[in-house]
């Protein structure tokens, strides 16, 4: 068979495949709509955050809120504690650490004038 004859045969074949039946198209569309319904609840299940949830998020979530709460509790505790107790805890410490501890003796010349 010559190439042009074969090409004509192939060209003719473009129009001989059967069209999908209406029933097939209906089944396929029904499948598509069913699958689409399965997709949509997954998107709808994410609710809008409420007022307190937005405030909570604005503060940075759990780590930040936990830190704030801890700082508040410590602040209240310090506020209500007798200052003598704190003096008791810190009274033994020297007031000027630089006089007692010389961390870098070889660098004393840097502190001298002239």
């Amino acid at each position: 068979m010559q190439e042009d004859e074969l090409n004509r045969l192939l060209d003719g074949a473009k129009f001989t495949a059967p069209a999908p039946s209406p029933a097939l198209l209906d089944r396929i569309l029904a499948d598509g709509l069913d699958e689409q319904l399965r997709l949509r609840p997954a998107q709808a299940l994410r609710p809008e955050p409420g007022f307190w949830a937005r405030i909570y998020g604005a503060f940075g979530g759990l780590p930040t809120v936990a830190g704030l709460c801890s700082a508040t509790v410590v602040g209240l505790a310090v506020g209500y504690t007798d200052p003598t107790t704190i003096n008791y805890l810190t009274g033994g410490l020297p007031t000027d650490l630089s006089e007692v501890i010389d961390l870098f003796p070889s660098t004393d010349f840097l502190a001298t004038e002239g």
């Binding site: 068979m1 045969l9 074949a13 059967p18 999908p20 039946s21 396929i28 499948d31 689409q36």
Partner: protein, 198 residues
């Protein structure tokens, strides 16, 4: 105002996929009308003109398309090319299964009638269609796929390369060899197919 989408709309297949994934029912209809006939015709060719199996392949291909839609990324592939690739794999599985069961024969092709032409012409056309279908069935899988995609479905070589997962040169080679094989198979039936009178 929201316009209903159908097969004739200018909206691209890729955009329809996104619309479908976002819940647009009209996009489902438009994709059904656009993609199904192409997949069905292609499967019909690959499966030796078995309409029932071609319908099954078309439905399965479209089902996979629906499920793929939420992950579809615009610009990465054409929807039709993707659908052809899925259909190719499904047809290959079915064709091999039929071969294992010994169900593929050159005479498998069914009669195809077009009521708009005369009885004589219809007979000749039906003979030619059946002969081509039988000759296609006798080709190796990859040659048959390449020839059908190129010369019947009208895809470009790069598109076929994407469908088949091959390079363009390999597609050109498959198509050329497929056509030579088809010509050889059909040359013994030229007179029967009425080509000597043309």
């Amino acid at each position: 105002m929201k316009m209903a989408l159908d097969a004739d709309t200018d909206t691209s297949d890729e955009a329809l996929m996104v619309l479908y994934a976002n819940g647009d029912r009209h996009a489902a209809l438009a994709l059904t009308q656009r993609i199904t006939p192409r997949v069905m015709g292609y499967a019909y060719r690959l499966l030796s003109g078995d309409r029932a199996e071609a319908e099954d392949v078309a439905q399965e291909t479209m089902l996979r398309l629906w499920r793929m839609a939420p992950e579809w990324r615009q610009g990465e592939a054409k929807v039709a090319t993707w659908a052809y690739r899925v259909a190719t794999n499904l047809c290959t599985d079915r064709f091999r299964s039929r071969r294992r069961q010994g169900r593929v024969a050159l005479e498998d092709a069914p009669d195809v009638a077009d009521p708009a032409v005369s009885a004589d012409t219809r007979l000749v056309e039906a003979d030619r269609t059946n002969a081509l279908q039988a000759a296609l069935a006798a080709l190796p899988d990859r040659q048959r796929q390449a020839v059908v995609l190129r010369h019947i479905e009208g895809l470009s070589n790069p598109e076929i390369a994407e469908v088949m997962g091959l390079g363009v040169e390999a597609v050109e080679s498959l198509t050329a060899r497929g056509k030579r094989a088809l010509a050889a198979i059909l040359s013994g039936r030229k007179a029967e197919l009425g080509y000597e009178d043309d």
